[in-house]
């Protein structure tokens, strides 16, 4: 068999992904739900003391400069990065192959690179009621002052572990385990019916 380009990846949401307006949308939709399907999702982890070097490596490879502080992050032009644990960062890129780029930049002395491009599903919720809908699931404060743009949070809704990055004043990107993604998506749609939602 001849070598060829990898086929398109299958989304775990596919059978339950129904584009269009749903729920109580007669008065307009208050949230928009999408799957962003990035090509690369990486977890980068620094050894204690090597955090600064890892942050430099991230800037070199992605051009994204991480702000200081726990859970700090930044998003822009198809790339995003945020801290989710001490010395640990999630880096996301529309394009595939980010892992190989980092495998050189992150030397064993700095830390480790773990490719989760298939293992996590990225769901975006945007709109004036995004905070309201997310507050139904997660016990964290979504208000802008408490959760600034670019910042990341690790949290959980019972069995579903989630990393959430605020990528806009009323926009959040949620990374969940692929095997749970379909259940979470269904729950998210269910919870959005009250405010009216559109799947794009």
């Amino acid at each position: 068999m001849a070598e060829r380009q990898s086929p398109e990846r299958l989304s775990p949401l596919e059978p339950v992904f129904h584009p269009g307006s749903h729920g109580n949308f007669e008065h307009g939709v208050d949230v928009i739900l999408t799957e962003t399907r990035p090509g690369s999702i990486l977890q980068l982890a620094a050894w204690p003391g090597a955090e600064k070097q890892l942050i430099d490596a991230i800037r070199k490879v992605t051009g994204l400069a991480l702000p200081d502080g726990a859970g700090g992050g930044v998003a822009g032009d198809g790339k995003a990065v945020f801290g989710f644990a001490p010395g640990k960062f999630t880096v996301v890129d529309e394009a595939e192959g980010l892992a190989s780029a980092f495998s050189k930049a992150v030397t064993p002395a700095i830390g480790t690179v773990t490719d989760l491009s298939h293992g996590r599903t990225a769901i975006r919720i945007a709109g004036p009621k995004a905070e309201w809908v997310l507050a139904k699931f997660f016990a964290i404060d979504f208000a802008l002052p408490a959760f600034p743009i670019g910042a990341g949070r690790s949290t959980t809704h019972h069995d579903i572990f989630a990393q959430i990055q605020r990528t806009g004043a009323d926009q959040f990107d949620i990374y969940v385990f692929r095997s749970f993604a379909r259940s979470f998506w269904k729950a998210l749609c269910h919870a959005s019916e009250e405010v009216g939602y559109e799947v794009q």
Binding site: P48, A70, G71, F84, A85, P86, K88, A139, I140, R153, S154, T155, T156, F161
Partner: protein, 98 residues
């Protein structure tokens, strides 16, 4: 109950897993002192009052915390990373609480 994770900030107890008595000392891996091993595995300090405990922020950053929590009031007087931060108790005493 809210637990202040040194990395994530205050979070609901539902995000945490209790990992028990933080006063236990694990013997050296090659130790043959069976009593010490038994004590480490089975015996617990169980005070009514301030207790030095290990928790994991399993529903968050997944790091382990060492904290002092009052087992009668559930008030938490200090939290810190378990990794390389074994002075939570000492700091708490200096803090002059309890």
């Amino acid at each position: 109950m809210l637990i202040t994770c040194p990395y994530c900030g205050p979070r609901d107890v539902i995000e945490f897993t209790y990992q028990g008595d933080g006063n236990r000392e694990r013997p050296q891996p090659n130790s043959q002192d069976l009593d010490a091993w038994n004590a480490y595995v089975y015996d617990r300090l169980n005070p009514a009052g301030d207790h030095n405990e290990i928790w994991q922020h399993s529903g968050g950053c997944r790091t382990h915390l060492r904290m002092v929590r009052n087992t009668v009031t559930h008030e938490i007087s200090s939290t810190g990373f378990a990794r390389g931060d074994h002075n939570a108790v000492a700091r708490h005493k200096e803090g002059g609480k309890s």
